[in-house]
Symmetry: C2
DNA sequence: GTATCAGCTTAGAGTTGCTCTAAGTCAATA
DNA sequence: TATTGACTTAGAGCAACTCTAAGCTGATAC
């Protein structure tokens, strides 16, 4: 059994966010003690972990709520849940490509600044000259 | 010279967002035609491209504004701008790791559902049983 | 010539997902 | 008994859009 504070520490989320999620009815197994305080048993913690993951995947509260409802309905919704994860997977691969591009862009930029600082390139006064980096290495997609 | 609409199409951003950015004074070289309509020359387009990049790196409007101000000041702010990109680079690598974890998680999940659907695993009625995937492959970080 | 249409302008309301504050309850310790 | 700490709620604030309404302008259609 975990309090909001303990759950927040364990899962590295803010207490505010955890309360917000419970208020949005995202944790169907949440219980309250005699003082009306939120308590998370292992099942509720599992829900929280899963919801955190779905959030990180970019899913909205509304869609997570839908997913939770599907899960509670059991077997008959397996295919719909499968489709959801297929879709999330595609999105994740897109994000991966974007993130890789971003890392490359920033590596270029840092290298560029290091060259300037080490005086290999004399001046960089023109405010938007740095956009040339974009042109040297155009975005994929 | 590009109108808001053309810029939006070229850079795959919404017209709303572009107007919002100009209203936030993020494009110092923006000009208006005689009817007060926003016009983007190549320099302004470069700014827009750069700002879009910074936004994708997770920078706030406020911080981008600061960055733009630094750029306009020229040479004397090179080191501060270098530090900004160093920091963004670190963040980008963290994001890369997170995204890779996410892809792996979703691959596992999709595989799991495929096994269920193909009847290799008989039932999955328990709503939060899927969180076991987390335990099989605990998060890095 | 005027009607209407697309495309722009603005101010401002609405949305999401937090994030924080204020005011209050409760149990335990000093 | 006082106060401390951890919780409760409703609701305000915030970032970054996102959209709407009302109005202006210039071009084409009749």
């Amino acid at each position: 059994m975990y309090t909001v504070k303990e759950a927040a520490e364990l899962l590295e989320m803010s207490e505010h966010t955890i309360r917000y999620y419970t208020d949005c009815q995202l944790i169907p197994t949440l219980i309250r003690d005699k003082n009306n305080q939120r308590l998370f048993n292992q099942e509720s913690m599992n829900w929280l972990i899963g919801i955190k993951r779905l959030k990180e995947c970019g899913m909205s509260i509304k869609d997570i709520k839908h997913y939770v409802a599907l899960s509670l309905q059991g077997d008959s919704t397996i295919d719909e849940r499968y489709q959801i994860f297929l879709h999330l997977k595609d999105i994740a691969y897109d994000q991966l490509e974007e993130t890789q591009n971003r890392v490359q862009f920033l590596e270029n930029k840092v290298k560029h600044y290091e060259e300037i600082v080490s005086k290999k390139i004399p001046d960089d006064t023109n405010p938007n000259k740095w956009n040339k980096l974009e042109k040297e290495k155009p975005e994929l997609k």
